[in-house]
Symmetry: D5
Subunit: 121 residues, 10 copies
């Protein structure tokens, strides 16, 4: 499974301002855990950095690491959200995955990161 | 008539987070109850899961079961909303049907699911 | 002038829910009351039904009845809004007309229906 | 300079309703006051009429009158807003100008009309 | 590094109104500070002027001055925001940079300018 | 039925050159001869003028004259081709009609004008 | 299986001219003969009529008759081509089917009708 | 009337090769010679240079010179073709003008330049 | 390496006609043989079948088999062309691969299959 | 000036077949030799390789080398054509440059490479 230790960071160049960073990866692919067939998605990560930002090349390698993993749409979106949230501890963050046509369906999953104490029990 | 017993579910992988799931079926077809002519629509189901999620392949089969049913736009949209609401008991859910051109018209019907007690009498 | 008596209705199949119905007619045409030249528009009717819904084929015939009428953009939009409001007594309704290029202009008129007592004097 | 006296009006056919009128002129052109080169824009006027509406053909002639005037983007947008506001005394009004590519730039200016007493000193 | 002294201004022609000015430069290019490879972006500056407006040709030259600078996406967006904010002291301002595909990614950075006292410590 | 006598002409300004003239009318409407329902089309006339050209405003009025005529797609396309061919005696001419969605169908009819002797017996 | 006897014809209104007729049905659906799952296509019929033309409403009913038939892409395209060719004996005809995404694939099949003697043995 | 003496040229940098040059002006405007109303077009000049090429800035000024001229679509297209042909004596050249919506019509005129001796008498 | 033995076939249902079959796979992915990074392409196979057709599901599995292979754009396009040509012996066939943005580039490779004797030595 | 020695090659993997290779660079930029302002283009190279192919990364670096060169549209297109032709000696090759809006103009230059003996004297 994609290991969040691949991810690298750099100091937020302007921590005095709440500004929005959005990276969209157009070439995400993983496998269906039931059939083993490939799934394709576009993954968007939007966040307001606190102390650190994610480095783009390491984010690409982290996404590539899902290439041969069998994982559900809902699960992978939440895992990316959890991994990046735990690493960056951003002021706020949203992860959105948009999945290509599969059996006449397209799907979109979007999850918002919140510090643990704010979460629904 | 499409039987909601076709629908299968799986446990919500991240019940601690209110995240949004959206499935759009691009190939819905049913029949006009008056003329018997085919109608075509795109159906979007957006919901925040509570304990369970709907399994995508069973949702496809449930939608296919309308293929030879005569049913009005307004009725089918509300039936899908009722069936999925009763099954999933989601935190919130919206069902939107977008109908192809018919006599120079296109139509969109959108219904939001709410627990019974919250509904208008 | 288009007679609202052409319009037919059917009982709202789900009056317990406030759900949105939207019909867009892509082939509306009337005449300019000054020059007699044809005008072309797309008319959208969005409403939350109360007890009754408008039947789509009769709505088409009602719109066709404007074909040879000379009437201004602002007037026809308000008349459609008044006629459908009086007939359906919807929980809420908006009528939007989008007019094709005329002398380098496109125009959009949108009117919201409200019960009489709520209106501005 | 374009003279607002060109503009003609007609009585609002439905003053009992706050409905929105939007006219977009796709063929606006004026001159750069510095270089004398032509500028091209799309001008949108959105308003809620009070007692009177602007007549569309006279609005076209009023816009044509800028054809050979040297005037800045910011100035012309405010002048149109002032001229139409003074004439129509609308319940509310917005004027938006969208300027074509000039030196690798596109520009959009949008101004909202308010009665004088409400304005910032 | 791009010197904000290149920027020229002119008096706001309508300071009595809070109206929105938006300039989008479609041809921004700088260099990656790590690899030295060129990056390409579209930069949008939206602001409500107070006493002065930025002159468009000088803004173009200011953007051209980044052509051979090595600078990160996050840093350049914040620098443009700081430079224009310090110069124009606008009532409000947002700077948005949209970066072309790089390694399967597109990125968008957006920063809002606020007077120093309002900023997060 | 639309009378070709409405059509006006002017002398070809450059008869020494075989150049192509193409007029597309985006707002053609006629009636279905069986149901009486309106049909909508886009009509393109492409021709190489010989001695005379068709005047655009009269062509518009000629097309408007079909507004309340019941006529088939195939027939109206051929009639326009015959009427304009007989009037203009062009070096060559094509008439194309593109019909909006009707019962899930769109249709395109295209006819080429030729002097009578060249036609198939 | 769809019976070509459903198809109706009318006399070609202009047999003296070789003009092109094209009908595109946007709502074709049949079943996969192996899985029983629905397939969706857009079917285009282009032809030069000889003595007769196909009537559009009967063509729609003929296409509807495939709704619950299990048939391959290649086979249905050739059958439509054979049925219409045998009925219309057109001067020339092409049938094109464009199939929606199925397992990450889209497909297009196009067949040209020729009198039997011209065919490859 | 636009004077071709405004046009400047430079030597063809590669006369040993027949390569294609295409300039499209997106902001052409002239006046209708009958009504005086503005017309808007996109003008494309495609040519294979022989000894000289047209300089782009002078071509812009030449097109600007039509701004207040009353001239027909067919005439202006042929005049541009004649002026540029006489100046450049290209190996071949085509001029295409695409005119914006006027009374529900769009028009395209395209003329090919040929040395005089090749023209139709 | 993808083994053409995965491919299955079925008899051409209409060998008496030269008709065109086109399958486009929108989700092809392989690896760069130098960097190991994933590449993404759309692969189109167009052919006129002789005795047999390729079965679509087996074609999908054959394409999936490239997922973890390092192979150049030019090589994979030619290999697919060779494999399918050798299997189907079609009357004619073209294979086109369209590669997503990589370092600011997109690429298209297209190869036509011919029986060996017809090839250039 | 961009030095063609930067370009690297690899052996054509399928020299027995005339297949088409097309690379499009979306991020070409050079300088106007007169004003020094940046120009932006999309460059397409299409060729049929003979013995060697151009390596994509070196082609990118070769294009980057124009970043600070002042050069005309016509000249740079021909130079790329000459450099790649001399290097690859392809069976055939076309180079197309598409230039972004400059003063209301867009331009396209396309040049075909031929062995010297075939060229026009």
């Amino acid at each position: 499974m994609a290991d969040p230790k691949i991810l690298e960071t750099f100091p937020n160049p302007q921590p005095g301002r709440d500004y929005l960073i959005e990276h969209t990866h157009h070439e995400f692919t993983s496998l269906c855990p039931i059939t083993g067939h490939p799934d394709f998605a576009e993954i968007t990560v939007q966040y307001v950095a606190d102390k650190i930002c994610v480095e783009l090349k390491s984010l690409k390698l982290y996404f590539h690491a899902y290439r041969n993993e069998g994982i559900f749409f809902e699960e992978v979106t939440n895992k990316i959200c959890d991994d990046l949230g735990a690493l960056l501890k951003p002021r706020r963050m949203t992860v959105i995955s948009r999945w290509m046509a599969r059996g006449g369906f397209t799907s979109v999953i979007s999850a918002e990161w919140r510090p643990k104490k704010q979460r629904r029990k």
